[in-house]
């Protein structure tokens, strides 16, 4: 969560009142991104529009490629990154789906591309509002995934994403995710540190490999089964390194700027909790009210907002669940034929525990349907009631017309 505006009234700082999308554009500007590839898609478009304005006004010195598709947007970033430049693009939903093949290539090529994704539901029917079905479908590719809960976090995550992606122990692309309209088009205060301080904290990219005629390499040629697996193992190893580096980068950023440092899980009133509510993004902030209200009613519930989905914070969630009797997960995602991704992967985290808590999971807010603290309270109370009877449930759809929570 962002610190108060007063605390940031320091010399050289900018205090902006901007949308999540413009917060992303400001982060790109102060991160001195060198190549931006842009293709419009609602509700991402105002990110690349704002960057175009920065570039055309000369406020950001960057090559800006107005590509003809998202497939080309990501490929242009792949090329520019391979040429040693810091790169950025942004997309949503169908644009992200069209990029799917390129996302594999970016990760496999070990290129530190940073992309903002405005989470939007997939068609048909056309729906421009939020859920996580677009990014969750891309979670197996080797991209780090960070999910934001306010506009300051969008700004902060993008700055830190470059530091993380460009670390020689990582060299993986990073997706910074923000919810359609709830963040993308909602104005909030965002504090921007002075450029020279950002420059000091985020030095220019030193690529781990690049295309250089003086030291020619062939990148990405045929790899036989005798070696392919080793390349893939190295990606997994890099993800393990992210587990170690991400909180350190977050602490360093927080110490330096007093802003939101990256971390895997944000907790609220978990210390004495015997039940745990897990969710993500903006729901993970609004749920604080839910937890307060549940506690007023005598339920010792704590809240965990999962901020990073890849690598999945399996140790953190396992640690939080230890000694807890009941877990409630609310997903803004559905894997058809299964349940939500957060629920499924939380179960993976819980499995090794000797004393496993019961767990009930919900699917909510699909296609931008509002999920308020009251909705989450209803879900949590039902879940606690079911589990009290020893009857946990999986993948319960919340708020569907004609479906009652019996």
């Amino acid at each position: 969560m962002a610190v108060s505006a007063g605390a940031r009234a320091r010399e050289g700082w900018l205090s902006l009142m901007v949308t999540g999308n413009h917060a992303a554009a400001w982060a790109v500007k102060v991160a001195r991104v060198q190549v931006v590839a842009a293709y419009p898609i609602t509700p991402q478009t105002t990110i690349v529009e704002k960057i175009a304005e920065f570039v055309e006004k000369g406020e950001l010195k960057a090559e800006y490629i107005r590509v003809e598709s998202e497939h080309s947007a990501m490929t242009a970033c792949i090329g520019a990154s391979a040429a040693g430049a810091r790169t950025f693009t942004a997309t949503a939903a169908h644009g992200l789906a069209l990029m799917h093949e390129c996302l594999w290539w970016a990760a496999g090529a070990r290129l530190p591309i940073v992309m903002a994704v405005v989470n939007r539901a997939m068609g048909p029917g056309w729906n421009i509002w939020t859920d996580y079905c677009d990014t969750m479908a891309q979670r197996d590719l080797g991209w780090v995934q960070i999910y934001c809960a306010d506009n300051q976090e969008v700004f902060d995550s993008i700055i830190q994403a470059y530091r993380l992606a460009e670390d020689p122990r990582v060299m993986l692309p990073v997706m910074v995710d923000l919810e359609a309209f709830i963040l993308s088009h909602t104005y909030m205060p965002v504090h921007v540190p002075p450029q020279d301080e950002i420059d000091d904290w985020l030095p220019p990219l030193k690529p781990a490999w690049t295309l250089d005629p003086e030291e020619p390499i062939t990148h990405g040629n045929l790899v036989f089964p005798a070696h392919y697996m080793e390349f893939r193992y190295l990606m997994q190893e890099a993800m393990e390194n992210v587990k170690e580096l991400l909180p350190k980068i977050g602490e360093d950023y927080k110490r330096r700027f007093g802003l939101t440092g990256l971390d895997f899980v944000e907790t609220y009133r978990c210390e004495d909790a015997d039940a745990l509510l897990l969710t993500m993004g903006t729901m993970g902030v609004e749920a604080r009210i839910t937890v307060d209200r549940l506690r007023e009613r005598g339920h010792r519930v704590g809240l965990a907002r999962v901020r990073v989905f890849r690598p999945f914070p399996v140790e953190q969630i396992r640690g939080l669940a230890k000694g807890v009797e009941k877990v409630v997960v609310i997903d803004r995602h559905i894997s058809y034929g299964a349940e939500g991704a957060l629920a499924m992967e939380t179960k993976w985290a819980l499995y090794p525990l000797e004393e496993k808590p019961m767990m009930t999971s919900f699917i909510a807010g699909i296609g931008g349907r509002d999920v308020t603290y009251k909705d989450m309270e209803t879900m949590a109370l039902k879940a606690l009631e079911w589990m009290e009877k020893g009857q946990p449930r999986e993948g319960v759809w919340y708020g569907v017309r004609g479906l009652e929570l019996a």
Binding site: E68, H71, T75, A76, G84, D212, T218, G220, L222
Partner: protein
């Protein structure tokens, strides 16, 4: 004529080789010959982007390579924009003396890669895009592409042969109004190298189409690659020309043997000997030969109306 234009004699050709011996091309491969000549003409300060195509194999498997300039492999449909991204990245870093080329087959150009290529051309991205056209998906086993000629048998047109004519990709690029468009074939190596060098020294999007005869795909003996390529030009099935901008006008100019044929029309050979050399046209009906000839004649007449010679 551009002042930068070079005209090599064979003894003056660059000695440096950037396609090294030991590459994995088939015997008699026109594409590998095209790549060797192209890289010779371009020189060391070159970066090559290769989408899925025969050159994915020709370059050799990891951890080795047969290409002595930086080479980036990329997805099938993405060569043009990957090259554009590299060019933008280099420019952002202040590096301006490197030529970035996309080296794609006809499938990656005419079919799956057309969108990205058209986008790059419309933007005028600073790349040299080379389509080495072997007239089918050869790397996957000779399937029909948008560049496969009429009546050619492929593994997806195995009995009847292709029922459609190829599209005129070089003219599609001319219609984009880019800096330079040319056709070439390794059967006329000096013409090919002159065009590559000329394109290298220009800015903006440049496109060269190199007809690269393919012994296994076209089914002719591996020692006939140059002969087949020459016949393609001499029959006007594949005329040699270039299109460039002079004094604000886009000019199309025939080159080499095609220029000569335009001046001396009797030199134009009928299509039969060209078809007869290639097993992919085996058993072609007289009617299909006439259709093929009529298509060549119409395209050639159209070219003569708009080209200088």
């Amino acid at each position: 004529m551009s002042s930068r234009e070079v005209s090599w004699a064979i003894r003056e050709l660059p000695r440096e080789e950037y396609l090294l011996p030991g590459h994995a091309a088939c015997a008699g491969c026109g594409a590998s010959l095209s790549l060797r000549l192209t890289l010779k003409a371009l020189g060391k300060r070159t970066i090559v982007v290769v989408p899925a195509c025969c050159t994915s194999i020709i370059q050799g498997p990891w951890p080795k390579t047969a290409v002595a300039v930086p080479l980036m492999n990329i997805m099938f449909e993405a060569a043009a924009v990957c090259a554009a991204g590299i060019a933008a990245g280099l420019k952002a870093r202040g590096i301006e003396d490197i030529t970035v080329i996309a080296w794609a087959g006809d499938g990656g150009t005419y079919d799956i890669g057309l969108q990205a290529l058209s986008g790059a051309a419309e933007r005028g991205d600073d790349i040299l895009y080379i389509c080495y056209n072997n007239e089918a998906y050869m790397n996957t086993g000779i399937q029909r592409s948008g560049a496969t000629p009429y009546a050619a048998k492929t593994t997806t047109t195995p009995v009847l042969g292709k029922r459609e004519h190829k599209k005129n990709m070089p003219m599609i690029m001319v219609a984009h109004g880019i800096s330079y468009v040319a056709t070439a074939t390794p059967a006329y190596p000096l013409d090919l190298m002159r065009k590559v060098r000329k394109a290298r020294d220009m800015e903006g999007t440049r496109y060269i189409e190199i007809l690269s005869p393919c012994p296994p795909g076209w089914r002719f003996p591996a020692d006939k690659t140059v002969e087949v390529g020459r016949l393609a030009v001499q029959t006007c099935a594949f005329p040699l020309w270039e299109a460039l901008w002079e004094d604000g006008q886009q000019v199309i100019r025939l080159t080499g043997p095609s220029k000569l044929i335009a001046q001396v029309p009797e030199l134009k050979l009928p299509v039969e000997p060209y078809l007869a050399m290639q097993g992919r046209f085996a058993g072609i009906s007289p009617e299909d030969v006439r259709t093929f000839q009529a298509w060549i004649d119409a395209a050639w007449e159209r070219l003569l109306k708009i080209a200088e010679f």
